[in-house]
Protein backbone atom coordinates (compact mmCIF):
# COMPACT_ATOMS: atom_id res chain seq x y z
CA UNK A 1 0.00 0.00 0.00
CA UNK A 2 3.07 2.29 -0.05
CA UNK A 3 2.41 5.19 -2.38
CA UNK A 4 5.10 5.89 -4.96
CA UNK A 5 7.93 7.39 -2.90
CA UNK A 6 9.32 9.64 -5.58
CA UNK A 7 6.43 12.08 -5.39
CA UNK A 8 6.39 12.22 -1.57
CA UNK A 9 8.70 14.13 0.71
CA UNK A 10 10.77 11.50 2.57
CA UNK A 11 10.78 11.26 6.36
CA UNK A 12 14.52 11.00 6.54
CA UNK A 13 17.04 11.51 3.81
CA UNK A 14 20.82 11.04 4.02
CA UNK A 15 23.04 12.23 1.18
CA UNK A 16 26.71 11.36 0.80
CA UNK A 17 27.15 10.56 4.48
CA UNK A 18 30.73 9.62 5.34
CA UNK A 19 32.27 8.91 8.73
CA UNK A 20 36.02 8.61 9.17
CA UNK A 21 37.81 7.64 12.37
CA UNK A 22 41.43 8.55 11.72
CA UNK A 23 42.37 6.41 8.72
CA UNK A 24 39.34 4.13 8.98
CA UNK A 25 36.22 4.95 6.98
CA UNK A 26 33.32 3.37 8.87
CA UNK A 27 30.59 4.82 6.65
CA UNK A 28 31.41 5.81 3.09
CA UNK A 29 29.23 8.03 0.90
CA UNK A 30 25.89 6.55 1.95
CA UNK A 31 22.67 7.76 0.32
CA UNK A 32 19.63 6.60 2.25
CA UNK A 33 15.97 7.53 2.04
CA UNK A 34 13.08 6.43 4.24
CA UNK A 35 9.45 7.34 3.62
CA UNK A 36 6.70 8.07 6.15
CA UNK A 37 5.49 4.97 8.04
CA UNK A 38 8.04 2.81 6.24
CA UNK A 39 9.75 -0.18 7.83
CA UNK A 40 13.31 -0.78 6.71
CA UNK A 41 15.72 -3.45 7.82
CA UNK A 42 19.47 -2.87 7.76
CA UNK A 43 21.61 -5.97 7.57
CA UNK A 44 25.27 -6.59 6.98
CA UNK A 45 28.26 -8.27 8.63
CA UNK A 46 29.88 -6.95 11.81
CA UNK A 47 31.74 -3.72 11.19
CA UNK A 48 29.70 -2.92 8.09
CA UNK A 49 28.82 0.49 9.53
CA UNK A 50 25.19 -0.04 10.55
CA UNK A 51 25.54 1.07 14.16
CA UNK A 52 27.79 3.96 13.14
CA UNK A 53 25.11 5.05 10.68
CA UNK A 54 22.54 4.92 13.52
CA UNK A 55 24.80 7.04 15.68
CA UNK A 56 25.03 9.61 12.90
CA UNK A 57 21.25 9.66 12.43
CA UNK A 58 20.72 10.28 16.16
CA UNK A 59 23.48 12.87 16.53
CA UNK A 60 25.79 10.76 18.69
CA UNK A 61 28.41 11.14 15.95
CA UNK A 62 28.92 14.10 13.62
CA UNK A 63 29.50 12.87 10.06
CA UNK A 64 32.77 13.85 8.36
CA UNK A 65 30.82 14.61 5.19
CA UNK A 66 27.27 14.59 3.88
CA UNK A 67 23.90 15.97 4.96
CA UNK A 68 20.92 14.47 6.75
CA UNK A 69 17.41 15.89 6.58
CA UNK A 70 14.47 14.96 8.78
CA UNK A 71 11.44 16.16 6.81
CA UNK A 72 12.25 19.86 6.31
CA UNK A 73 14.92 20.13 8.96
CA UNK A 74 18.64 19.73 8.34
CA UNK A 75 19.81 17.71 11.35
CA UNK A 76 23.42 17.20 10.27
CA UNK A 77 25.62 17.53 13.33
CA UNK A 78 22.74 18.48 15.64
CA UNK A 79 22.90 17.50 19.33
CA UNK A 80 21.31 14.12 20.20
CA UNK A 81 18.71 15.72 22.47
CA UNK A 82 17.70 18.13 19.72
CA UNK A 83 17.21 15.29 17.24
CA UNK A 84 15.27 13.30 19.84
CA UNK A 85 12.94 16.29 20.32
CA UNK A 86 12.23 16.29 16.59
CA UNK A 87 10.79 12.80 17.01
CA UNK A 88 13.60 10.27 16.60
CA UNK A 89 13.88 7.47 19.16
CA UNK A 90 16.55 4.79 19.30
CA UNK A 91 17.12 1.51 21.07
CA UNK A 92 20.88 1.16 21.06
CA UNK A 93 22.82 -2.05 20.51
CA UNK A 94 24.11 -2.26 24.09
CA UNK A 95 21.03 -1.46 26.22
CA UNK A 96 21.13 2.13 27.43
CA UNK A 97 18.72 2.18 30.37
CA UNK A 98 18.64 3.82 33.78
CA UNK A 99 19.89 0.84 35.80
CA UNK A 100 19.42 2.42 39.21
CA UNK A 101 15.79 3.35 38.54
CA UNK A 102 12.71 1.13 38.46
CA UNK A 103 11.02 0.07 35.23
CA UNK A 104 8.22 2.54 36.00
CA UNK A 105 10.67 5.41 36.56
CA UNK A 106 12.54 4.61 33.34
CA UNK A 107 9.38 4.90 31.29
CA UNK A 108 8.14 7.89 33.29
CA UNK A 109 11.25 9.95 32.59
CA UNK A 110 11.00 9.14 28.89
CA UNK A 111 7.30 9.94 28.70
CA UNK A 112 7.37 13.10 30.77
CA UNK A 113 9.29 15.58 28.67
CA UNK A 114 7.12 18.67 28.18
CA UNK A 115 3.88 16.88 28.97
CA UNK A 116 1.32 17.30 31.72
CA UNK A 117 1.48 14.90 34.64
CA UNK A 118 -1.86 13.33 33.72
CA UNK A 119 -0.77 12.80 30.11
CA UNK A 120 2.57 11.38 31.28
CA UNK A 121 0.86 8.90 33.60
CA UNK A 122 -1.49 7.81 30.83
CA UNK A 123 1.44 7.20 28.47
CA UNK A 124 3.35 5.27 31.15
CA UNK A 125 0.39 3.00 31.95
CA UNK A 126 -0.35 2.42 28.29
CA UNK A 127 3.27 1.64 27.43
CA UNK A 128 3.79 -0.71 30.39
CA UNK A 129 0.61 -2.60 29.47
CA UNK A 130 1.51 -2.74 25.80
CA UNK A 131 4.90 -4.29 26.52
CA UNK A 132 3.60 -6.49 29.38
CA UNK A 133 5.93 -4.81 31.86
CA UNK A 134 3.28 -3.89 34.43
CA UNK A 135 4.14 -6.87 36.62
CA UNK A 136 7.77 -5.83 36.99
CA UNK A 137 7.17 -2.06 37.02
CA UNK A 138 8.50 -1.68 40.56
CA UNK A 139 11.76 -3.57 39.97
CA UNK A 140 15.15 -2.01 39.44
CA UNK A 141 16.13 -2.28 35.79
CA UNK A 142 19.72 -3.17 36.70
CA UNK A 143 18.46 -6.42 38.27
CA UNK A 144 16.51 -7.63 35.22
CA UNK A 145 17.56 -10.21 32.66
CA UNK A 146 19.04 -8.99 29.38
CA UNK A 147 15.88 -9.68 27.35
CA UNK A 148 13.73 -7.75 29.82
CA UNK A 149 16.15 -4.83 29.81
CA UNK A 150 15.79 -4.72 26.03
CA UNK A 151 12.01 -4.47 26.45
CA UNK A 152 12.38 -1.72 29.01
CA UNK A 153 14.54 0.18 26.55
CA UNK A 154 11.95 -0.31 23.80
CA UNK A 155 9.33 0.93 26.27
CA UNK A 156 11.30 4.12 26.95
CA UNK A 157 11.64 4.70 23.22
CA UNK A 158 7.90 4.24 22.64
CA UNK A 159 7.02 6.39 25.65
CA UNK A 160 8.78 9.40 24.18
CA UNK A 161 6.28 9.13 21.30
CA UNK A 162 8.74 9.43 18.42
CA UNK A 163 7.81 9.45 14.76
CA UNK A 164 10.86 7.54 13.63
CA UNK A 165 12.07 4.59 15.68
CA UNK A 166 15.52 3.09 15.26
CA UNK A 167 16.06 -0.37 16.73
CA UNK A 168 19.62 -1.70 16.88
CA UNK A 169 19.47 -5.50 17.26
CA UNK A 170 16.14 -5.62 19.15
CA UNK A 171 16.05 -9.43 19.18
CA UNK A 172 19.60 -10.01 20.45
CA UNK A 173 19.73 -12.12 23.58
CA UNK A 174 16.00 -12.82 23.56
CA UNK A 175 14.31 -16.19 23.94
CA UNK A 176 12.36 -17.71 21.03
CA UNK A 177 9.06 -16.45 22.48
CA UNK A 178 10.41 -13.00 23.12
CA UNK A 179 11.65 -12.79 19.53
CA UNK A 180 8.16 -13.60 18.24
CA UNK A 181 6.61 -11.00 20.53
CA UNK A 182 9.17 -8.44 19.39
CA UNK A 183 8.36 -9.13 15.74
CA UNK A 184 4.64 -8.75 16.41
CA UNK A 185 5.29 -5.52 18.27
CA UNK A 186 7.37 -4.10 15.44
CA UNK A 187 4.63 -4.89 12.92
CA UNK A 188 2.11 -3.22 15.21
CA UNK A 189 4.25 -0.10 15.69
CA UNK A 190 4.75 0.08 11.95
CA UNK A 191 1.04 0.65 11.40
CA UNK A 192 1.56 4.22 12.60
CA UNK A 193 5.32 4.79 12.76
CA UNK A 194 8.39 4.56 10.57
CA UNK A 195 11.08 2.17 11.75
CA UNK A 196 14.62 1.25 10.87
CA UNK A 197 15.73 -2.07 12.32
CA UNK A 198 19.28 -3.40 12.41
CA UNK A 199 19.31 -7.15 12.92
CA UNK A 200 21.45 -10.22 12.26
CA UNK A 201 18.78 -12.82 12.89
CA UNK A 202 17.57 -13.83 9.40
CA UNK A 203 14.38 -15.63 10.50
CA UNK A 204 13.52 -12.46 12.41
CA UNK A 205 14.17 -10.32 9.31
CA UNK A 206 11.83 -12.58 7.32
CA UNK A 207 9.13 -12.09 9.98
CA UNK A 208 9.13 -8.30 9.74
CA UNK A 209 10.89 -7.02 6.65
CA UNK A 210 9.49 -5.54 3.48
CA UNK A 211 12.51 -3.66 2.18
CA UNK A 212 16.07 -4.46 3.19
CA UNK A 213 19.23 -2.37 2.86
CA UNK A 214 22.49 -4.29 3.01
CA UNK A 215 25.58 -2.56 4.36
CA UNK A 216 29.06 -3.84 3.62
CA UNK A 217 32.34 -2.15 4.44
CA UNK A 218 30.60 1.14 5.14
CA UNK A 219 28.74 1.24 1.83
CA UNK A 220 25.29 0.19 0.70
CA UNK A 221 25.72 -3.06 -1.18
CA UNK A 222 22.13 -3.54 -2.27
CA UNK A 223 18.66 -2.31 -1.39
CA UNK A 224 15.63 -4.33 -2.40
CA UNK A 225 12.71 -6.43 -1.23
CA UNK A 226 13.47 -9.00 1.43
CA UNK A 227 13.03 -11.97 -0.95
CA UNK A 228 15.42 -10.63 -3.56
CA UNK A 229 18.01 -9.52 -1.03
CA UNK A 230 18.09 -12.84 0.77
CA UNK A 231 18.35 -14.66 -2.57
CA UNK A 232 21.20 -12.41 -3.73
CA UNK A 233 24.49 -14.36 -3.88
CA UNK A 234 26.50 -11.20 -3.10
CA UNK A 235 24.68 -10.86 0.21
CA UNK A 236 25.46 -14.46 1.11
CA UNK A 237 29.09 -13.89 0.15
CA UNK A 238 29.58 -10.88 2.42
CA UNK A 239 27.98 -12.72 5.33
CA UNK A 240 30.29 -15.64 4.74
CA UNK A 241 33.24 -13.25 4.70
CA UNK A 242 33.88 -13.45 0.97
CA UNK A 243 34.23 -9.91 -0.26
CA UNK A 244 32.99 -9.05 -3.75
CA UNK A 245 36.17 -7.64 -5.23
Amino acid sequence: MTPPGATLRPLIEARGVTMRFGGVTAVADVDFTLGEVELRCLIGPNGAGKSTFFKILTGQLKPSEGRIRLRDTDITGAEPHAIARLGVGIKTQVPNVFNGLTVHENVFVAAGRRKSLARTRAIVDETLTRLALTGIAGRLVGQLAHGQRQWVEIATVLAQEPELILLDEPAAGMTHDEVHRTAALIREINRTHALIVVEHDMPFIRMIAKTVTVFNQGRILVEDTVERVLADPRVRDVYLGKQAA
Binding site: H81, I90, F98, T102, H104, G135, G138, T156, Q160
Partner: protein, 353 residues
Protein backbone atom coordinates in the same frame (compact mmCIF):
# COMPACT_ATOMS: atom_id res chain seq x y z
CA UNK B 1 -2.46 -0.22 40.86
CA UNK B 2 0.91 1.42 40.78
CA UNK B 3 3.52 -1.26 41.61
CA UNK B 4 6.09 1.40 42.56
CA UNK B 5 3.84 2.37 45.45
CA UNK B 6 5.40 0.39 48.35
CA UNK B 7 8.83 1.91 47.66
CA UNK B 8 7.31 5.36 47.40
CA UNK B 9 5.37 4.84 50.62
CA UNK B 10 8.56 3.80 52.45
CA UNK B 11 10.30 6.87 51.09
CA UNK B 12 7.47 9.16 52.19
CA UNK B 13 7.59 7.54 55.62
CA UNK B 14 11.32 8.23 55.82
CA UNK B 15 10.72 11.85 54.85
CA UNK B 16 8.01 12.29 57.49
CA UNK B 17 10.20 10.66 60.15
CA UNK B 18 13.17 12.87 59.27
CA UNK B 19 10.99 15.96 59.36
CA UNK B 20 9.53 14.97 62.75
CA UNK B 21 12.97 14.30 64.24
CA UNK B 22 14.28 17.55 62.78
CA UNK B 23 11.43 19.57 64.29
CA UNK B 24 11.84 17.80 67.63
CA UNK B 25 15.52 18.76 67.67
CA UNK B 26 14.68 22.30 66.53
CA UNK B 27 12.27 22.99 69.38
CA UNK B 28 13.74 20.60 71.96
CA UNK B 29 17.40 21.57 71.89
CA UNK B 30 17.03 25.05 73.50
CA UNK B 31 15.25 23.43 76.46
CA UNK B 32 17.65 20.54 76.92
CA UNK B 33 21.05 22.05 76.13
CA UNK B 34 23.02 24.74 77.87
CA UNK B 35 24.27 27.76 75.95
CA UNK B 36 27.56 26.09 75.03
CA UNK B 37 25.79 23.00 73.73
CA UNK B 38 23.34 25.06 71.70
CA UNK B 39 26.15 27.08 70.08
CA UNK B 40 27.92 23.84 69.23
CA UNK B 41 24.74 22.44 67.68
CA UNK B 42 24.31 25.63 65.64
CA UNK B 43 27.75 24.91 64.17
CA UNK B 44 26.68 21.33 63.47
CA UNK B 45 23.59 22.60 61.63
CA UNK B 46 25.75 24.86 59.44
CA UNK B 47 28.08 21.99 58.54
CA UNK B 48 25.14 19.61 58.04
CA UNK B 49 23.83 22.10 55.47
CA UNK B 50 27.25 22.01 53.81
CA UNK B 51 27.05 18.19 53.79
CA UNK B 52 23.59 18.42 52.22
CA UNK B 53 25.05 20.49 49.38
CA UNK B 54 27.77 17.94 48.61
CA UNK B 55 25.36 15.05 49.08
CA UNK B 56 22.97 16.51 46.52
CA UNK B 57 25.44 17.41 43.79
CA UNK B 58 27.54 14.26 44.13
CA UNK B 59 24.99 11.68 45.22
CA UNK B 60 22.08 12.67 43.02
CA UNK B 61 23.50 14.62 40.09
CA UNK B 62 26.67 12.51 39.95
CA UNK B 63 28.82 15.62 39.64
CA UNK B 64 32.02 15.07 41.57
CA UNK B 65 32.69 18.54 42.92
CA UNK B 66 35.95 18.46 44.82
CA UNK B 67 35.81 22.15 45.64
CA UNK B 68 32.46 22.64 47.31
CA UNK B 69 34.28 24.81 49.88
CA UNK B 70 34.57 27.47 47.19
CA UNK B 71 30.82 28.04 47.47
CA UNK B 72 30.82 27.77 51.27
CA UNK B 73 33.47 30.47 51.38
CA UNK B 74 31.81 32.69 48.79
CA UNK B 75 28.54 32.49 50.72
CA UNK B 76 30.25 33.31 54.00
CA UNK B 77 32.22 36.20 52.59
CA UNK B 78 29.26 37.52 50.62
CA UNK B 79 27.23 37.62 53.83
CA UNK B 80 30.04 39.19 55.88
CA UNK B 81 30.84 41.92 53.35
CA UNK B 82 27.20 42.73 52.67
CA UNK B 83 26.05 42.79 56.27
CA UNK B 84 28.95 45.05 57.34
CA UNK B 85 27.97 47.46 54.58
CA UNK B 86 24.20 47.27 54.98
CA UNK B 87 23.68 46.76 58.70
CA UNK B 88 20.46 44.80 58.06
CA UNK B 89 21.08 41.07 57.51
CA UNK B 90 18.03 40.33 55.32
CA UNK B 91 19.53 41.04 51.90
CA UNK B 92 22.99 39.72 52.87
CA UNK B 93 21.41 36.32 53.56
CA UNK B 94 19.94 36.31 50.05
CA UNK B 95 23.30 37.37 48.64
CA UNK B 96 25.04 34.52 50.46
CA UNK B 97 22.87 32.20 48.34
CA UNK B 98 22.85 34.14 45.07
CA UNK B 99 26.55 35.01 44.81
CA UNK B 100 27.74 31.38 44.96
CA UNK B 101 24.91 30.37 42.59
CA UNK B 102 25.97 32.97 40.05
CA UNK B 103 29.60 31.92 40.36
CA UNK B 104 28.60 28.26 39.97
CA UNK B 105 26.53 29.22 36.94
CA UNK B 106 29.54 30.76 35.25
CA UNK B 107 31.97 28.00 36.23
CA UNK B 108 29.45 25.26 35.47
CA UNK B 109 28.58 26.72 32.11
CA UNK B 110 32.16 26.39 30.92
CA UNK B 111 32.60 22.96 32.49
CA UNK B 112 29.40 21.29 31.34
CA UNK B 113 28.92 23.02 27.99
CA UNK B 114 32.63 22.61 27.31
CA UNK B 115 32.16 18.84 27.72
CA UNK B 116 34.76 18.51 30.44
CA UNK B 117 34.94 14.88 31.58
CA UNK B 118 33.95 13.92 35.13
CA UNK B 119 37.50 13.50 36.44
CA UNK B 120 38.48 16.95 35.22
CA UNK B 121 35.41 18.49 36.84
CA UNK B 122 36.89 17.26 40.13
CA UNK B 123 40.25 18.79 39.25
CA UNK B 124 38.79 22.11 38.11
CA UNK B 125 36.51 22.61 41.12
CA UNK B 126 39.40 21.71 43.43
CA UNK B 127 41.69 24.18 41.67
CA UNK B 128 39.11 26.94 41.78
CA UNK B 129 38.69 26.56 45.55
CA UNK B 130 42.47 26.67 46.02
CA UNK B 131 42.73 29.78 43.82
CA UNK B 132 40.01 31.50 45.86
CA UNK B 133 41.82 30.54 49.06
CA UNK B 134 45.08 32.06 47.80
CA UNK B 135 43.27 35.11 46.47
CA UNK B 136 41.42 35.92 49.69
CA UNK B 137 44.48 35.00 51.73
CA UNK B 138 46.43 37.70 49.92
CA UNK B 139 44.03 40.54 50.73
CA UNK B 140 45.88 41.76 53.82
CA UNK B 141 45.93 45.51 54.27
CA UNK B 142 43.38 48.26 54.38
CA UNK B 143 43.52 48.77 50.60
CA UNK B 144 41.60 45.52 50.14
CA UNK B 145 38.14 46.54 51.18
CA UNK B 146 34.67 46.35 49.73
CA UNK B 147 32.80 49.39 50.97
CA UNK B 148 33.13 49.41 54.74
CA UNK B 149 34.29 45.77 54.90
CA UNK B 150 38.02 45.10 55.10
CA UNK B 151 38.77 41.62 53.76
CA UNK B 152 41.67 41.20 56.15
CA UNK B 153 43.68 38.57 54.26
CA UNK B 154 44.59 35.50 56.30
CA UNK B 155 43.22 37.16 59.45
CA UNK B 156 39.75 37.12 57.97
CA UNK B 157 36.83 39.33 58.90
CA UNK B 158 36.09 39.59 62.65
CA UNK B 159 32.98 40.82 64.42
CA UNK B 160 30.49 40.04 61.67
CA UNK B 161 27.06 41.35 62.70
CA UNK B 162 24.74 38.45 63.48
CA UNK B 163 21.37 37.80 61.85
CA UNK B 164 18.54 40.09 62.81
CA UNK B 165 14.79 39.78 62.53
CA UNK B 166 13.99 40.29 58.81
CA UNK B 167 14.25 44.01 57.95
CA UNK B 168 14.62 44.99 61.62
CA UNK B 169 18.35 45.64 62.06
CA UNK B 170 17.72 46.92 65.58
CA UNK B 171 16.51 43.46 66.67
CA UNK B 172 19.54 41.13 66.44
CA UNK B 173 18.92 37.46 67.15
CA UNK B 174 20.26 35.99 70.39
CA UNK B 175 21.89 32.58 70.66
CA UNK B 176 18.53 30.82 70.73
CA UNK B 177 17.36 32.86 67.75
CA UNK B 178 20.40 31.94 65.68
CA UNK B 179 19.89 28.29 66.55
CA UNK B 180 16.28 28.47 65.37
CA UNK B 181 17.40 30.20 62.16
CA UNK B 182 20.17 27.68 61.43
CA UNK B 183 18.25 24.51 62.24
CA UNK B 184 15.08 25.88 60.67
CA UNK B 185 16.97 26.68 57.48
CA UNK B 186 18.48 23.18 57.47
CA UNK B 187 15.04 21.56 57.72
CA UNK B 188 13.65 23.90 55.06
CA UNK B 189 16.49 23.24 52.61
CA UNK B 190 16.20 19.50 53.21
CA UNK B 191 12.48 19.76 52.41
CA UNK B 192 13.15 21.79 49.28
CA UNK B 193 15.74 19.30 48.01
CA UNK B 194 13.35 16.41 48.68
CA UNK B 195 10.68 18.25 46.70
CA UNK B 196 13.10 18.89 43.85
CA UNK B 197 14.04 15.21 43.74
CA UNK B 198 10.40 14.11 43.75
CA UNK B 199 9.56 16.55 40.96
CA UNK B 200 10.29 15.95 37.30
CA UNK B 201 13.43 18.08 37.51
CA UNK B 202 14.92 15.78 40.14
CA UNK B 203 13.94 12.63 38.30
CA UNK B 204 15.71 13.85 35.18
CA UNK B 205 18.79 14.86 37.22
CA UNK B 206 18.97 11.35 38.68
CA UNK B 207 18.26 9.75 35.29
CA UNK B 208 21.21 11.65 33.82
CA UNK B 209 23.43 10.35 36.62
CA UNK B 210 22.26 6.83 35.74
CA UNK B 211 22.77 7.08 31.99
CA UNK B 212 23.64 10.30 30.27
CA UNK B 213 23.39 8.85 26.75
CA UNK B 214 19.87 7.52 27.30
CA UNK B 215 18.76 10.81 28.79
CA UNK B 216 20.05 12.59 25.68
CA UNK B 217 18.41 10.10 23.35
CA UNK B 218 15.01 10.78 24.89
CA UNK B 219 15.45 14.52 24.44
CA UNK B 220 16.97 15.90 27.66
CA UNK B 221 20.05 18.12 27.52
CA UNK B 222 22.34 16.75 30.27
CA UNK B 223 24.47 19.90 30.29
CA UNK B 224 21.53 22.06 31.37
CA UNK B 225 20.38 19.71 34.14
CA UNK B 226 23.89 19.29 35.52
CA UNK B 227 24.29 23.05 35.54
CA UNK B 228 21.00 23.48 37.42
CA UNK B 229 22.00 20.86 40.01
CA UNK B 230 25.46 22.39 40.38
CA UNK B 231 23.98 25.86 40.93
CA UNK B 232 21.40 24.57 43.43
CA UNK B 233 24.12 22.85 45.43
CA UNK B 234 26.23 26.01 45.32
CA UNK B 235 23.32 28.00 46.74
CA UNK B 236 22.94 25.50 49.59
CA UNK B 237 26.68 25.61 50.31
CA UNK B 238 26.51 29.41 50.26
CA UNK B 239 23.73 29.44 52.84
CA UNK B 240 25.83 27.03 54.92
CA UNK B 241 28.65 29.58 54.66
CA UNK B 242 26.32 32.32 55.89
CA UNK B 243 25.30 30.21 58.91
CA UNK B 244 28.94 29.32 59.53
CA UNK B 245 29.92 33.01 59.57
CA UNK B 246 27.04 33.72 61.95
CA UNK B 247 27.99 30.88 64.23
CA UNK B 248 31.44 32.24 64.99
CA UNK B 249 30.81 35.87 64.07
CA UNK B 250 34.04 35.48 62.14
CA UNK B 251 35.22 34.20 58.77
CA UNK B 252 38.72 33.54 57.43
CA UNK B 253 40.13 32.12 54.19
CA UNK B 254 40.28 28.63 55.74
CA UNK B 255 36.64 28.20 54.62
CA UNK B 256 38.02 27.98 51.07
CA UNK B 257 40.87 25.67 52.02
CA UNK B 258 41.40 22.09 50.95
CA UNK B 259 40.53 20.50 54.34
CA UNK B 260 37.05 22.03 54.09
CA UNK B 261 36.38 20.45 50.67
CA UNK B 262 37.86 17.14 51.78
CA UNK B 263 35.86 17.13 55.02
CA UNK B 264 32.52 17.51 53.25
CA UNK B 265 33.33 14.58 50.96
CA UNK B 266 34.01 12.56 54.10
CA UNK B 267 30.63 13.60 55.56
CA UNK B 268 28.96 12.17 52.47
CA UNK B 269 31.04 8.98 52.41
CA UNK B 270 30.45 8.25 56.10
CA UNK B 271 26.76 9.17 56.05
CA UNK B 272 25.91 7.50 52.76
CA UNK B 273 26.28 8.59 49.14
CA UNK B 274 22.95 8.90 47.35
CA UNK B 275 21.00 9.98 50.42
CA UNK B 276 20.22 13.43 51.83
CA UNK B 277 19.98 12.51 55.50
CA UNK B 278 23.27 10.58 55.43
CA UNK B 279 25.52 13.58 54.67
CA UNK B 280 23.84 15.57 57.46
CA UNK B 281 24.42 12.73 59.95
CA UNK B 282 27.96 12.35 58.65
CA UNK B 283 28.64 16.03 59.24
CA UNK B 284 27.46 15.89 62.85
CA UNK B 285 29.27 12.62 63.55
CA UNK B 286 32.60 13.70 62.06
CA UNK B 287 32.49 17.12 63.72
CA UNK B 288 31.68 15.52 67.08
CA UNK B 289 34.60 13.11 66.55
CA UNK B 290 36.93 15.98 65.69
CA UNK B 291 35.94 17.78 68.89
CA UNK B 292 36.30 14.60 70.96
CA UNK B 293 39.68 13.83 69.38
CA UNK B 294 40.88 17.34 70.15
CA UNK B 295 39.98 17.09 73.84
CA UNK B 296 41.99 13.94 74.59
CA UNK B 297 45.75 13.39 74.59
CA UNK B 298 46.17 9.62 74.20
CA UNK B 299 46.31 9.47 70.38
CA UNK B 300 47.23 12.20 67.93
CA UNK B 301 43.81 13.52 66.92
CA UNK B 302 44.43 13.60 63.16
CA UNK B 303 45.82 10.08 63.24
CA UNK B 304 42.79 8.85 65.17
CA UNK B 305 40.40 10.52 62.77
CA UNK B 306 42.30 9.10 59.80
CA UNK B 307 41.98 5.60 61.24
CA UNK B 308 38.25 6.05 61.71
CA UNK B 309 37.87 7.16 58.09
CA UNK B 310 39.94 4.29 56.68
CA UNK B 311 37.86 1.94 58.80
CA UNK B 312 34.67 3.37 57.35
CA UNK B 313 35.79 3.12 53.74
CA UNK B 314 36.91 -0.48 54.24
CA UNK B 315 34.11 -1.77 56.47
CA UNK B 316 31.02 0.36 55.65
CA UNK B 317 31.67 1.53 52.09
CA UNK B 318 27.98 2.35 51.46
CA UNK B 319 27.87 4.68 54.45
CA UNK B 320 25.90 4.58 57.68
CA UNK B 321 22.40 5.42 56.50
CA UNK B 322 22.05 2.80 53.73
CA UNK B 323 23.41 0.13 56.08
CA UNK B 324 20.99 1.15 58.82
CA UNK B 325 18.14 1.24 56.32
CA UNK B 326 18.75 -2.23 54.92
CA UNK B 327 19.17 -3.60 58.45
CA UNK B 328 15.81 -2.09 59.39
CA UNK B 329 14.19 -3.53 56.26
CA UNK B 330 15.59 -6.99 57.04
CA UNK B 331 14.19 -6.72 60.55
CA UNK B 332 10.77 -5.78 59.20
CA UNK B 333 10.88 -8.66 56.72
CA UNK B 334 11.74 -11.12 59.51
CA UNK B 335 8.94 -9.87 61.74
CA UNK B 336 6.33 -10.10 59.01
CA UNK B 337 5.17 -13.47 57.77
CA UNK B 338 7.06 -14.13 54.56
CA UNK B 339 4.84 -13.92 51.50
CA UNK B 340 6.07 -13.55 47.94
CA UNK B 341 5.51 -10.12 46.44
CA UNK B 342 3.29 -9.74 43.42
CA UNK B 343 6.11 -8.33 41.31
CA UNK B 344 8.47 -11.17 42.16
CA UNK B 345 5.72 -13.67 41.38
CA UNK B 346 5.04 -12.41 37.89
CA UNK B 347 8.75 -12.29 37.25
CA UNK B 348 9.16 -15.90 38.29
CA UNK B 349 6.38 -17.15 36.00
CA UNK B 350 7.79 -15.12 33.15
CA UNK B 351 11.19 -16.75 33.62
CA UNK B 352 9.69 -20.22 33.91
CA UNK B 353 7.86 -19.98 30.62
Amino acid sequence: MNPALPARRASALGFAATLAIGLAILFGAPHVLDTFGLVQCTGFAALAMFGLSQGFVWGFAGVMSFGQAAFLGLGGYAYAVAVINMGDSSIPVLLSILVPMAFAGLLGYFMFYGRISDAYIGVITLTVSVILFQLVNATSGSQYRIGAAELGGFNGIPAIPALNAPFHPDEPLDIDGIWYAAMGALILVYGILRAVLAARLGRVIVAIRENEIRAQLIGYDPRLYKLIAFMLAAGVAGLAGCLYANWGGFISPTVFALPMSAQVIIYVLVGGLGTLVGPMLGAVLIQALIIAAGSQTVVDSNLGLGLVLVGFVLLVPQGLLPVARSAALRLVARVRTPRPGKAADTFATERAR
